[in-house]
């Protein structure tokens, strides 16, 4: 899942304090699962903003909402409508950055602000602790490294590790960070495939990663048919 965490509330407050009517919108997807932006967090942020406005003597109305996922046109439609009908002056999105972008493209002149810092693609290590496991580099090499990702879990993302900064299984950047390559080697020992690491992985083409510019994925079999899209554009005009 995409793991995020709430921005400090003073930062959030700074974004929206000039607006009369603010809509805080949560996301029922990853942001809820990582306890950063679901219904309950919307309530807390909404409450904090109202308490702050009251304490500072500002008049500000804070509305709350939550949608199934902020990254789907059908689901965000309700938000767009509410912004119109309730004459919302600013939106605070408690989704990952995707949700913020997605709303920003659709909200016309109403600004949208991020309530979360989107951190990484990760998993639950233990209740209340999430760790990064994938960098979304666009060209998976996990088959070469026993299923442990050198791009996401090595601080240097090196493909032929470990480097000289590996110390007793920990990375030189912090004693709290595991050396990704140590994990890879231990895993491959268990699999009996350690000898594969003798082969040098050649420098890779990073154009599939964010460095190659904004990416997109297309499934031709599921794309809107030409007739459908024509029809939609007719009904929408």
């Amino acid at each position: 899942m995409i793991v995020a965490e709430r921005k400090p509330l003073d930062e959030i407050k700074g974004f929206v304090e000039g607006f009369g009517r603010v809509l805080v919108v949560g996301c029922g997807g990853c942001a809820t699962v990582c306890l950063a932006g679901g219904e309950t967090e919307v309530k807390i942020v909404g409450s904090a903003l109202r308490i702050a406005a009251r304490g500072e003597g500002r008049h500000q109305e804070v509305l709350e909402d939550c949608v199934t996922r902020q990254c789907e046109p059908e689901f965000v439609e309700a938000v767009l409508q509410r912004v119109d009908t309730d004459r919302v002056d600013a939106v605070l999105s408690l989704a990952c950055g995707v949700g913020v972008n997605f709303l920003a493209e659709r909200l016309g002149s109403v600004p949208v602000f991020p309530g979360l810092n989107t951190k990484f693609l990760g998993a639950t290590a233990e209740p209340g602790v999430w760790v990064e496991m994938c960098a979304g580099c666009g060209n998976c090499v996990l088959h070469l490294t026993g299923g442990i990702c050198p791009v996401a879990r090595c601080s240097k993302s090196i493909l032929n590790g470990p480097c000289g900064g590996s110390n007793n299984g920990k990375c030189e950047i912090s004693p709290d960070v595991d050396c990704g390559w140590e994990l890879i080697i231990e895993r491959m020992k268990k699999l009996g495939t350690l000898e594969r690491l003798v082969e040098i992985t050649p420098p890779r083409d990073w154009s599939s990663s964010p460095h190659g510019g904004p990416r997109r994925v297309v499934r031709e079999d599921l794309r809107q048919l030409a007739a459908e899209s024509e029809e939609k554009s007719v009904t929408s005009t």
Binding site: L9, V33, E39, T40, K43, I44, S47
Partner: protein, 700 residues
């Protein structure tokens, strides 16, 4: 968020009830009674009890409490003392009960005659009067109450207690004609001409006789006449040594009365073995405390007498009482005998109906003297004549008689409405959530049942004063805390649940599971609320003290402070379970306005979410003072730690928006609410006042 909508959906789900409610013949919602007691709503508890059972005072004393027998806490330690709690409610609301007494308006022209003023007849009278009919009750004796009023010994059931219930019923406008025996003073056919329906509820007022040699001797008495004479204050002399034949509850009553009437040696002789003894266990235990001897597995062979006066009884060994089919068919070993010396022998071997009321009537009687009666329609052979209670069902308890009275009232109402008979099962079985599963039992904290001490047996037998006292308020509240609040736990809204597993990880009872969405089975959930407090999707609601309760309370209470603007306004969320009295339970906006402290009592503050803790600040509070239970006392494992972490999170939120986290205090109760809470509020108040002064100093 739409908690209201979620609540409606929760309430609409198909219910399985708490076993205590299901086991009660009148389906008293004892679980809700306990909740009312805990929240200090004693009047609501009384209303609830009286709606189910007009003989609430009586049942608070002598009910055989099937609710307790089915209480799910039994598997953890001991059942909740529901009967005593019921008695507590009655005793705590005496004035209110008098105030709520009022006649009902007669809205129906039809009149009904009820024969017999015992619990069955009077319950039917109560229901039919409330339905608007004219009701007249005919009682052969001088007092209403049936067995309850005239036969059950006063040390178990003082007459004033029976009177509380009877007076309630009569106050509805029910007419009572005592000393009027139907079949002697007025005939049933005469009643049939005068009334549109008749209900025979004469009970089983006669004792059965025994056919053994010597039974006609002087000094052989029957149980019920003896008990009646004792209640009336006119018992016959019994002598020093009394033998009671019988092993049921009536036999126990006789034996215990005999001790109180001066008999030094009282022995109960019964066919059944000690394990099979039909009397209730607690009755047997109390009888033993009063030095009553048991002689189980013996049957009478002959009564021994000299000059026609009892001197003893010869007994023969009873080998077994019931045959393979469970029918009564005792077999004896005639060769093994024993003799007991006795001045008086009392027969308590069963009861029979007095059929005087059927004199000159067409109502058919079966062989053996039982009424010819349809158990489902409650109709006798005569149109418009119905029967209920022990006369038709056979021997039973008071609460069963009440249940049958309700059923008879429904049958008669239908008959008068439509001329048709209503078919009803003798007992309505409702679905229950079943026993507490073993894996949950292990995780529930043990709490000793609150028992009231009884005087020693030797002291008790000196007179007929009541042997049991009621709960004090503190005892009642402590006992009420033990209720597992069955069926009031977490409800998952599957449409909202994102399957995040937080509930699974947080649940201290390991109840929650997730496949695609969460499942929190009612039969395991302990209603602690820890999951709902942290569910990120707000997909979990609690039936008892749901999320909307706090908002509603805050809105109501803080309106009081708007008018008076106290110098410091504190909202104090307090653990309901720590209040040993009602002192802090009733909270009004006016009180908040004058004191500046708004108490919100929560059934375990561990269920407060971060948003709950912040909410008072939105309503203008200067501080929040959370008072948890005493250290280590939380009913729910991990509740204390989880609350501590959420309080820290709420403080962090305040700090991030530029307010001091010190505005939130978390206290642990010391001793009790009454002892420590006021001091906590005072400390919080002073601190907040100081902070306010400093703030004004800065801005000024």
């Amino acid at each position: 968020m739409e908690t209201g909508e979620l609540k409606v959906r929760m309430d609409n789900q198909v219910e399985r009830e708490a076993p205590c409610l299901v086991a009660c013949p009148v389906h008293t919602d004892t679980r809700l009674m306990v909740e009312h007691i805990l929240e200090g709503r004693y009047k609501d508890a009384l209303d609830l009890l009286l709606a189910a059972n007009p003989f609430t005072s009586v049942c608070g004393r002598i009910c055989h409490h099937p609710c307790e027998q089915s209480c799910r806490r039994s598997k953890v330690d001991a059942p909740v003392g529901l009967r005593q709690l019921k008695r507590f409610v009655v005793e705590a609301t005496k004035e209110y009960r008098l105030r709520r007494r009022a006649p009902v308006t007669r809205t129906r022209k039809e009149t009904i005659a009820i024969v017999g003023a015992g619990p069955a007849g009077l319950t039917a009278a109560h229901d039919l009067a409330r339905a608007g009919f004219g009701v007249t009750v005919f009682e052969a004796g001088p007092e209403a109450g049936g067995m309850l009023g005239t036969t059950i010994p006063r040390y178990r059931l003082p007459y004033e207690v029976v009177r509380e219930d009877i007076d309630d019923i009569l106050a509805l406008g029910v007419e009572l004609r005592t000393d009027c025996a139907v079949g002697r003073d007025i005939s049933l056919p005469e009643l049939q001409r005068e009334f549109r329906a008749i209900l025979i509820a004469t009970g089983l007022s006669e004792s059965r006789m025994l056919g053994v040699p010597g039974i006609d001797s002087r000094g052989v008495l029957l149980a019920l006449p003896l008990l009646r004479a004792t209640c009336a204050g006119d018992p016959p002399p019994l002598g020093e040594r009394v033998v009671v034949i019988g092993g049921g509850n009536v036999a126990i009553d006789v034996a215990r009365c005999a001790r109180r009437l001066g008999a030094a040696e009282v022995t109960m002789v019964c066919l059944e073995s000690r394990e099979e003894l039909p009397a209730w266990d607690w009755e047997i235990e109390e009888a033993l405390e009063e030095r009553i001897e048991l002689a189980p597995s013996w049957g009478p062979r002959q009564v021994l007498a000299e000059e026609g006066k009892v001197t003893g009884i010869e007994l023969k060994r009873c080998l077994r009482v019931f045959d393979e089919d469970g029918s009564f068919a005792p077999t004896f070993d005639e060769s093994e005998t024993t003799t007991l010396v006795a001045d008086t022998i009392v027969l308590a071997i069963g009861q029979a109906a007095d059929s005087t009321c059927l004199q000159d009537s067409e109502v058919k009687v079966c062989r053996g003297g039982r009424l010819d009666y349809d158990a489902e329609t409650m109709a006798t052979s005569e149109r418009g004549v119905f029967a209920c209670g022990e006369v038709s069902t056979g021997p039973g308890s008071a609460v069963e008689a009440v249940a049958d009275g309700h059923r008879a009232a429904r049958a008669i109402e239908r008959f008068l409405d439509t001329g048709q008979l209503l078919r009803q099962q003798p007992r309505e079985d409702l679905p229950t959530i079943g026993d507490l599963p073993d894996e949950t039992v292990e995780r529930v904290k043990e709490r000793a049942r609150v028992e009231v001490e009884r005087a020693p047996g030797e002291t008790r037998v000196r007179d007929f004063s009541e042997i049991e006292r009621g709960f004090t308020e503190a005892e009642a509240r402590a006992e009420a805390q033990r209720c597992l609040a069955c069926t009031t736990g977490a409800f998952v809204d599957e449409e909202r649940c994102v399957g995040c597993l937080t509930c699974v990880r947080i649940c201290p009872f390991e109840v929650a599971t997730v496949t695609s969405t969460a499942s929190i089975p009612q039969e395991k959930c302990q209603a602690c609320g820890l999951c709902a407090a942290v569910c990120p999707a707000a997909a979990i609601a609690l039936k008892r003290f749901g999320a909307e309760r706090i908002e509603d309370d805050l809105r109501r209470l803080l309106s009081g402070a708007e008018k008076t603007s106290p110098p410091v306004l504190i909202v104090s969320f307090c653990c309901l379970f720590e209040a040993t009295s009602r002192k802090f339970l009733d909270e009004t906006p006016e009180h908040v306005g004058s004191t500046g402290v708004a108490r919100v009592l929560v059934p375990c503050v561990g269920r407060l979410s971060v948003a709950d803790i912040l909410s008072p600040f939105e309503h203008g509070a200067d501080g929040v003072s959370i008072i948890a239970c005493a250290e280590g006392e939380c009913l729910y494992p991990t509740g204390e730690e989880r609350l501590g972490a959420r309080v820290e999170e709420a403080k962090r939120v305040l700090e991030e928006i530029g307010m001091s986290g010190e505005r939130i205090d978390l206290w642990r109760t010391k001793d009790s609410a009454e002892v420590s809470w006021t001091a906590f509020w005072e400390i919080s108040r002073r601190k907040l006042a100081l902070m306010k002064d400093e703030q004004q100093g800065e801005t000024g």
